[in-house]
């Protein structure tokens, strides 16, 4: 019996697709797994494979057409079958409003819209997909169920995807025949999963790429124009989940302290005069170095809660929150306590540049033991940050401000910077955190010690 085949879900976030090219024509015989069309989704061009035997009786959309998820794209059946009724039904289905991407109940007697097979993908590593649901009466919602088919991925890409929690179905392979290889998974890590989740998110102004995504994904607009929904990117969802988890599960408390920034600014000026054209050291570079040395002085804060133990790390690896389009990442300066200011400065600049271009490798954004988030350059006087688990501490750095200070009984002009330390109370108690801040302040207020 002939059946209408609807547009399958070829990426987890797609709501519609553009039929780029038919690779079969009406009258062609097809077998399960045959490629019949290429479909442009929000992710990439994906293969549309047919799941059943039969003959392509009618192609219902033209190349270049945009098709709603689940909307009819072709009629499959036996050669010579009468499909007049089905064509009419398909036209009716196609005419339904976009809201119909919610499940469409299948007509009782007529052949239902059958979910065609999604792209050649594998069940997610976390939750193995169920076997395909019964073929009939599969409304659009069922289309979403991943069907166990082969994903073309190298063994390393597969094991890495499991390790990093990446869904291979969301990736496009760059290897021969579309094979997903290591670099594709690593790239996904950067753009997708391992976003840092520490600080209040610095929302950049909408960029052109965000706009593009928004347009393609067709934000839902309510009838009154009161709001618009912009579908969350995977990175945004990930940030949402991890921040919620951190703020909910980690007992935060906060310590604040003012630091006399005058010696720091003077020191920085001297350094930059010495450096000349060879680069510039920023306040943030000095802060990173001071954080690292303070962690050496108070190693109890370079630690994490492990349920039945406190793990103290031997290496001091400082994560630095960097705002990027639609989110943020925390590239890591490894062994920052052992690096000179010049190399920290160069490394931070390189990491930040590449973070913005989404060019960081997986190992460059993992393994930090403490994080610094600095909004001083954006004029924020003071703020508190959400911890970046499993780290037990994060330092939120505010702007250097000109303030009146009392010195020897006189009010004089001074430079002050406020820092806030968020602590995981399971690891760091108030006095310990205070001790760390004393060490940090001592280093920054005697900045020559950063060069030692």
């Amino acid at each position: 019996m002939a059946q209408i085949i609807g547009l399958p879900k070829l990426s987890p976030t797609m709501e519609e697709g553009v039929l780029v090219r038919w690779t079969k024509k009406e009258g062609d015989k097809v077998s399960p797994g045959d490629l019949i069309a290429e479909v442009e989704t929000d992710k990439a061009n994906m293969d549309f494979n047919v799941e059943d035997d039969g003959v392509l009786l009618k192609l219902l959309v033209k190349e270049g057409d945009t098709v709603r998820l689940g909307a009819p794209v072709l009629i499959l059946g036996k050669a010579g079958e009468d499909i007049t009724a089905l064509v009419a039904q398909a036209a009716a289905l196609a005419a339904q409003p976009a809201a119909a991407s919610a499940p469409v109940p299948a007509p009782k007697e007529a052949p239902a819209v059958v979910a065609a097979k999604p792209a050649p993908v594998k069940p997610t590593p976390v939750a193995p997909a169920p076997k395909p649901a019964a073929k009939v009466a599969a409304p659009a919602a069922k289309v979403a169920a991943p069907v166990g088919d082969k994903v073309l991925a190298s063994p390393l890409a597969k094991s890495l995807a499991i390790e990093l929690g990446i869904d291979l179905r969301t990736l496009t392979g760059s290897g021969p025949g579309g094979r997903i290889v290591e670099r594709d998974v690593r790239a996904a890590v950067i753009s997708d999963e391992q976003v840092a989740l520490d600080t209040p998110v610095v929302e950049a102004e909408p960029t052109s790429s965000e706009t593009a995504i928004a347009v393609r994904a067709k934000p839902a607009v309510d009838g009154t124009g009161a709001y618009e929904d912009f579908p969350a990117s995977n990175m945004r969802k990930r940030i949402a989940a991890r921040l919620t988890e951190a703020k909910r599960d980690v007992p935060h408390f906060y310590l604040q302290r003012q630091i006399d920034a005058a010696p720091l600014l003077a020191f920085r000026e001297r350094l930059n005069a010495l450096l000349g054209d060879r680069g510039k050291v920023s306040v943030n570079d000095l802060v990173v170095k001071a954080v690292a040395l303070a962690l050496r002085r108070v190693p109890e804060c370079n630690a994490s809660w492990e349920g039945d133990a406190i793990r103290r790390y031997h290496g001091v690896h400082v994560g630095i929150a960097v705002a990027i389009d639609d989110g943020l990442v925390t590239p890591v300066v490894r062994d920052a306590d052992q690096k000179g200011l010049g190399s920290i400065s160069a490394e931070v600049r390189d990491l930040a540049d590449r973070a913005k271009r989404k060019g960081l490798k997986g190992h460059e954004i993992t393994g930090s033991t403490f994080t610094v988030s600095n909004l001083g350059m954006l004029g924020i006087e003071r703020f508190t940050a959400i911890l970046n688990p499993p780290e037990a501490g994060i330092l939120a750095v505010g702007a250097v401000l000109d303030v009146p200070v009392v010195k020897d009984g006189q009010v004089v002009a001074g430079k002050r910077m406020t820092v806030s330390m968020s602590c995981d109370h399971r690891v760091i108690d108030g006095a310990l955190g205070a001790r760390w801040l004393i060490a940090f302040a001592d280093l920054l207020e005697h900045p020559e010690s950063l060069a030692l």
Binding site: S154, P155, L156, K158, S159, S174, G175, P176, V181
Partner: protein
């Protein structure tokens, strides 16, 4: 540390072992009065007399067989083949006698013999004198097959081969004799390298190159070229093919996720196929790309220089294979 040639390293190894153990003797064509066709036995006749440095007639089957017999009764012969191409004349002694007597005599007879000599293609010596035969010997249970790439390895492994109670096929690189390396100048037990233990000749993160003998040098050259493009190769030299240090190869591939095996022998049933089997067997989940092999072309060696270069693995071939394995081409 003193820098010496591969040739000198082999000479020292034999000399030290002959001093250490009076049962060790050398036999082969031109090993005595002529000081060796490749001068590896230079000075041994003068220092150890005709009793222990024996010029044999051009009869490989004969003197290889005498060696096996001598080993059966407790001596430790070093049989030099002028080149391993001529070992084919003696292969019955090597494969059917040396390799089997220990097992067939139920352990009554050890065969502590070393068959050594130059191997691998040289320069314009024609098909019959320009070939790599290690895969044939590595196929045979009962033999050990050693393929040192550097002077350091050559000395340490030849000493271990002479001390080994089993027949060892010790294949020297014919074009490596003049290569140099730092070799310690210590006592007789200094610098012994156990048979069956590989060596990382270059540490790298992106891809594993497995090669032995001369191809180690080709791989190191290729690694330098690739380093300029930001590709960091690890070069693993198993040093002995049988027994093979599978662990060192596997650990490297688990680290890098990619593997290129480079051998100067022919592709079909070449030893690289065995390495590839071991890698896929132990590293399947670590592999990001099919294992690549670089071999000589599947033809007898041509004589013409341009064709000779064409059929053998060159730096560019290794570079191309690395890029295939990294999906860069």
């Amino acid at each position: 540390m003193p820098v010496i040639t591969y040739r000198e390293a082999l000479n020292r190894a034999m000399r030290e072992e002959m001093i250490r153990d009076p049962n060790v003797f050398v036999m082969g064509e031109e090993v005595g009065h002529y000081n060796g066709a490749y001068k590896v036995t230079q000075g041994l006749l003068q220092d150890f007399s005709e009793r222990r440095v024996i010029d044999a007639p051009i009869a490989e089957m004969g003197f290889a067989g005498i060696g096996v017999g001598a080993a059966m009764v407790g001596l430790r012969p070093i049989i030099e083949f002028m080149t391993f191409n001529f070992s084919l004349v003696a292969i019955d002694q090597i494969v059917n006698n040396a390799a089997k007597i220990y097992q067939m005599s139920a352990g009554q007879f050890h065969i502590p013999i070393v068959f050594r000599g130059p191997s691998g293609p040289a320069v314009q010596v024609g098909s019959q004198h320009s070939q790599a035969l290690e895969s044939m010997y590595a196929h045979v249970p009962g033999l050990k097959v050693v393929m040192p790439s550097t002077a350091l390895d050559a000395k340490g492994l030849l000493k271990s081969a002479i001390r080994d109670d089993n027949p060892v096929v010790f294949m020297e690189g014919e074009t490596l004799y003049n290569t140099t390396w730092e070799v310690p100048d210590g006592g007789p037990d200094d610098g012994l390298i156990p048979i069956g233990v590989g060596d990382i000749k270059r540490v790298g993160a992106d891809i594993t190159l497995v090669a032995w003998s001369k191809m180690v040098w080709t791989c190191l050259d290729a690694a330098r070229v690739l380093a300029e493009e930001g590709i960091d190769c690890e070069v693993v030299d198993p040093r002995t093919l049988r027994p093979l240090d599978v662990d060192i190869i596997v650990n490297s591939v688990k680290k890098t996720g990619r593997c290129v095996i480079v051998e100067i022998g022919w592709p079909v049933a070449g030893f690289g196929a065995e390495v590839a089997y071991q890698v896929q067997r132990h590293c399947l989940d670590a592999l990001d790309a099919p294992i690549e092999r670089v071999c000589s072309d599947d033809v007898p060696m041509p004589y013409a220089k341009n064709l000779e270069d064409e059929v053998q693995p060159q730096i560019k071939d290794v570079v191309a294979a690395v890029k295939r394995a990294l999906y860069l081409e």
